[in-house]
């Protein structure tokens, strides 16, 4: 055990952050009574978890995927099809979907990892679209309705719950597991390797890092957890269709949340989800009726402004303000010292 722990760079404050997250994930669902807020909480937990999963490949490793909806959709479809047609519990279906997503990720890794930057983003975007189109086309050969409903029949084994707070606990647990995983990765040599690849592929390879292998590791882990999020989404909404779970909007939302909070950091995607989802909801409440569609315009403008003002996300903004204060007080103490 201590040998295992030796692979990580622990800091004293880590336990504190973990306690905060744990408290938030398990206490909040009990305190919040209002159905509307609980719904927001479930979505925040779920999207924060998926954005954190995206962040492993997109932020830590710097491979800006725009195709993650493929994994969300594969997760949602695998568990739902297995449950509806074969009667397999979504708890198992979720793992099956995760593994299938990893397989897909491994298959496309070879062509897409040959590309860098924008080309990688475009290739993954095309991949996400392709999976949806293939699914729609497959209905010509397989007898499958356009949308799939999951029977509302509450039960733990069926992963269907009566009250939303149970869903909040479920998605909260998902967020915690993804966060612990991402955190462990980032504090081990693997996280260091991923950042090295992001910063300079040439120098990373010259330092003895087998680049493809580590990009692949990050991609597989990311795909697996994103896919789990897809199953949870399906179990919460109890209805899926190609355009809802295979949607470019999801592919864009996940990186957007990471960018908002602080891309490549552990807390960033969580903070991003905490801001983005309620913001969109509030705007919808305010303008939804008087001027339909306006809320999306304002949402878009707000995001653009935030990204321009804070290029490294909210965390980066806080950090640079703190650094400014620290260097100012340093300068002051240096000026005062010679007396």
């Amino acid at each position: 055990m201590s040998r295992f722990l030796g692979y990580f760079d622990w800091k004293r404050t880590d336990g504190l952050w973990f306690a905060v997250l744990l408290a938030a994930a398990f206490a909040l669902p009990h305190f919040i009574e209002n159905d509307y807020y609980i719904n927001v909480l479930v979505l925040v937990f779920l999207y924060a978890g998926m954005a954190s999963a995206w962040n492993i490949i997109g932020g830590m490793a710097g491979q800006f995927s725009l195709g993650h909806t493929a994994f969300v959709g594969i997760g949602a479809y695998t568990s739902t099809l297995l449950f509806n047609y074969v009667g397999v519990s979504p708890w198992l279906g979720m793992i099956a979907g995760g593994l299938l997503s990893m397989l897909m990720a491994a298959l496309i890794a070879y062509p897409v990892f040959r590309m860098r930057g924008v080309f990688f983003a475009m290739a993954t975007l095309a991949f996400g679209e392709t999976v949806r189109i293939l699914l729609m086309a497959s209905r010509k050969y397989v007898d499958m309705p356009y949308g799939l409903s999951i029977n509302y029949d509450p039960g733990f084994i069926r992963m269907v719950f009566e009250d939303r707070s149970s869903y909040a606990m479920l998605t909260g647990a998902f967020l915690i597991i993804v966060t612990i995983f991402a955190f462990g990765l980032s504090r081990s040599y693997i996280g260091s390797y991923l950042r090295a690849i992001r910063d300079s592929e040439e120098a990373a390879v010259a330092s003895g890092i087998p680049m493809r292998k580590y990009k692949m590791i990050a991609f597989l882990i990311s795909a697996f957890f994103t896919s789990i999020g897809g199953t949870l989404l399906a179990q919460y909404i109890l209805y899926i269709e190609p355009s809802s779970v295979f949607s470019t909007a999801i592919s864009i939302d996940l990186p957007l949340m990471a960018l908002l909070g602080g891309i490549g950091t552990i807390a960033g995607p969580v903070i991003g989800a905490v801001i983005a989802l309620p913001l969109r909801d509030i705007l919808l409440e305010t303008f939804g009726q008087s001027a339909p569609g306006l809320h999306l315009v304002i949402y878009g403008i707000a995001l653009i402004v935030i990204v321009i003002v804070l290029p490294h996300g909210l965390l980066g903004g806080v950090k640079s303000i703190r650094e400014r204060f620290v260097s100012r007080s340093h300068a002051r103490s240096e000026r005062e010292e010679p007396k």
């Binding site: 390797y193 950042r195 090295a196 910063d199 040439e202 390879v205 330092s207 003895g208 680049m211």
Partner: protein, 246 residues
């Protein structure tokens, strides 16, 4: 022989950057590789390190054929290199970037940090461990390159113009560093435009011109070679004069 290069040719389209070069470096030797701009020195490094597979010819390291193997594989075999234009990990501190090299042999975090700190102190970056790499000076970036390469614990290191852009004091510090490496028994292949440095430290010198090896021998012999004088020293002397005039 530690490194053996035979009939190595590297073409980029119609351009022959390295033309049928034979060269060897024995264990513990410090070999200087010189030549005018565009002579093919960096390209030769890139082929040896595995960035490009050669168009023709072979490279052996410790008796194993390595041409066409990727840079991470050659690094793992004990052949490390620096970049002429420092490639820094911009989001990291000095200690973090040096640790990246150390993880190759030490997956345990504390062990890797200890190795990185030890190398940083030897390289003269000991007081800069927590500084972000983006705020380093040119001289420090060059040293960071060397440190990152050294933490992979190589048997041989390829240094590409680690003294370019440094002032007189910094050049002397870098020279001291290379002699320290020699004392450790490290084999060094280094490209340098600073001829004083080359003359001072190298056991042997190879001269490239337009991709062709035109001389190979003791520093003194090479400097007196008529071909070298016209191809390279002529250019260097005139550029020295330009520098003096400036």
């Amino acid at each position: 022989m530690m490194l053996e290069v035979t009939s190595l040719t590297m073409r980029f389209g119609g351009l022959v950057a390295v033309n049928d070069v034979n060269m060897s470096v024995s264990r513990g030797e410090i070999l200087g590789l010189i030549g005018p701009n565009g002579a093919g020195k960096t390209t030769l490094f890139n082929v040896i390190a595995g960035v490009f597979p050669p168009s023709a010819g072979t490279v052996s390291f410790n008796g194993n054929r390595i041409e066409g193997k990727s840079p991470d594989v050659t690094c793992n075999l004990g052949l490390a290199r620096t970049f002429q234009i420092p490639q820094v990990f911009t989001s990291m501190t000095v200690l973090e970037s040096i640790s990246v090299g150390a993880f190759l042999r030490h997956r345990n975090f504390a062990a890797a940090r200890a190795k990185a700190t030890e190398v940083a102190e030897r390289i003269g970056l000991g007081s800069r461990l927590e500084v972000p790499t983006s705020s380093l000076t040119t001289a420090e970036r060059k040293r960071l390159e060397v440190a990152r390469a050294l933490t992979t614990e190589p048997q041989m290191i390829l240094l590409d113009e680690v003294m370019a852009g440094l002032n007189h004091t910094e050049v002397n510090q870098m020279l001291e560093l290379v002699s320290l490496l020699r004392d450790d028994g490290m084999t060094v292949l280094f490209v340098e435009h600073n001829l004083h440095a080359v003359m001072k430290i190298c056991d042997r010198i190879v001269v490239l011109d337009h991709g062709v090896k035109i001389a190979d021998g003791l520093p003194k012999e090479v400097m007196e070679d008529a071909g070298v004088v016209t191809a390279y020293l002529g250019a260097a002397v005139s550029s020295d004069q330009e520098n003096a005039d400036a």
